[in-house]
């Protein structure tokens, strides 16, 4: 009798535990839903749109003739096909490095100077705002990165290598956390980035506004944070490895719907 009661209690306790866990995850989903309504990414989006049209820089020109891969001035749909190879710079570029190229070519800014600027400051803050707006213009569209050029395929392969490369004081790779589905760190679900993780998850969710620190995070900054967690030195802005990783994730995310700019805890 006594044993039975104990088992009964244990079962009850298990149920309660499962329930509490579910409601926490639900609670977070609910919290995100509430935040979506007033996503401060909207503010960066508006800023980016104004910057795109504004005549700035030493050449006093706007970015309206910037070629993001679909022809000069075409913004809609550009984000879901980046990174890609650009013949004029002879490089595979992601959205941010391409924007910097345009700022250099059209507006006469110093690209190296911008790349050195910390995130959230000066022209780098403008690059992030521009990226937010460009990404927002492709909201609801599906990722389909070109892989026709040999440089694009090479970038993918380098990205794959980097993704599986274990290192750092804690000896782990991107794949250690993002190589299988159903994993999480504390309450953060970890997307499996070796395949399409689903609509609006992983690569399809950035740039995003981080509520916890009130910052707008671009993909370059997001990757920086992965390197930080790996206890690696920060990669240079727009360096080959960051673009290769973006290519790898972007190609894997083929067919995923972009919800960027999204909102994160």
């Amino acid at each position: 009798m006594r044993t039975q009661t104990l088992i009964g209690l244990a079962v009850l306790a298990l149920c309660a535990g499962a329930q509490a866990q579910k409601s926490t995850a639900d609670g977070i989903a609910e919290y995100r839903k509430m935040l979506e309504d007033g996503n401060p990414a909207d503010l960066f989006e508006a800023k980016g749109e104004a910057l795109w049209k504004q005549k700035r820089g030493p050449k006093n020109a706007s970015l309206e003739q910037c070629d993001l891969g679909l022809g000069p001035g075409v913004v809609k749909g550009a984000f879901v096909a980046l990174p890609r190879y650009f013949p004029d710079t002879q490089k595979v570029q992601d959205l941010e490095t391409r924007l910097v190229s345009c700022m250099v070519m059209l507006q006469g800014f110093d690209g190296a100077e911008i790349a050195k600027t910390p995130f959230g400051r000066g022209e780098m803050a403008n690059v992030t705002a521009l990226a937010t707006w460009v990404a927002a213009e492709s909201r609801g569209m599906r990722f389909n990165l070109p892989q026709g050029n040999v440089a694009e395929r090479e970038s993918y392969e380098i990205g794959k290598r980097a993704f599986y490369f274990r290192g750092g004081t804690h000896d782990f790779s991107c794949a250690s956390c993002h190589g299988e589905s159903g994993k999480r760190i504390r309450l953060q679900d970890l997307p499996d980035l070796t395949k399409n993780p689903g609509d609006g998850i992983g690569f399809a969710a950035w740039p995003a506004y981080r509520v916890s620190n009130g910052q707008m995070w671009s993909m370059q900054l997001r990757l920086n944070d992965c390197f930080r967690q790996q206890r690696f030195p920060y990669p240079g802005f727009g360096s080959e490895v960051t673009i290769a990783l973006a290519t790898y994730m972007g190609v894997n995310a083929k067919g995923a719907e972009s919800i960027a700019p999204s909102i994160k805890r």
């Binding site: 309504d37 007033g38 996503n39 401060p40 909207d42 503010l43 508006a46 009130g214």
Partner: protein, 103 residues
């Protein structure tokens, strides 16, 4: 000059739901920078909303309101085409007013 607000006002029946996103640092005055110096407080102190020029909401805010604040409220008796204007004043005396048309 402060960045613009995002104001969305939608009519449903005789009610207008107004959603405002303000761009502001909302520094509490409790934080320190990397050099250990206190970052001075800088936050929105007063928010007012008008509906066709008539005040419908005034609020006194403090440093506990989050960065880039979001405000939502309902105006009774509003309709599409009405003007809704929001003004904030921060503790440095900086202010910003933006207007939206109810849709």
């Amino acid at each position: 000059m402060a960045d613009p607000m995002r104001i969305r006002a939608q009519a449903a029946g005789d009610k207008v739901t107004v959603r405002v996103l303000m761009s502001h640092e909302m520094e509490t005055g409790q934080r320190k920078d990397s050099a250990g110096k206190v970052i001075p407080a800088w936050f929105i102190q007063e928010v007012t909303a008008t509906h066709n020029g008539k005040p419908v909401l005034t609020a006194e805010w403090g440093p506990s309101v989050a960065k880039n604040p979001f405000l939502q409220f309902v105006i009774k008796g509003g309709k599409a085409g009405d003007k809704v204007a929001i003004t904030w004043v921060d503790n440095k005396g900086d202010k910003r007013t933006d207007e939206a048309t109810v849709s």
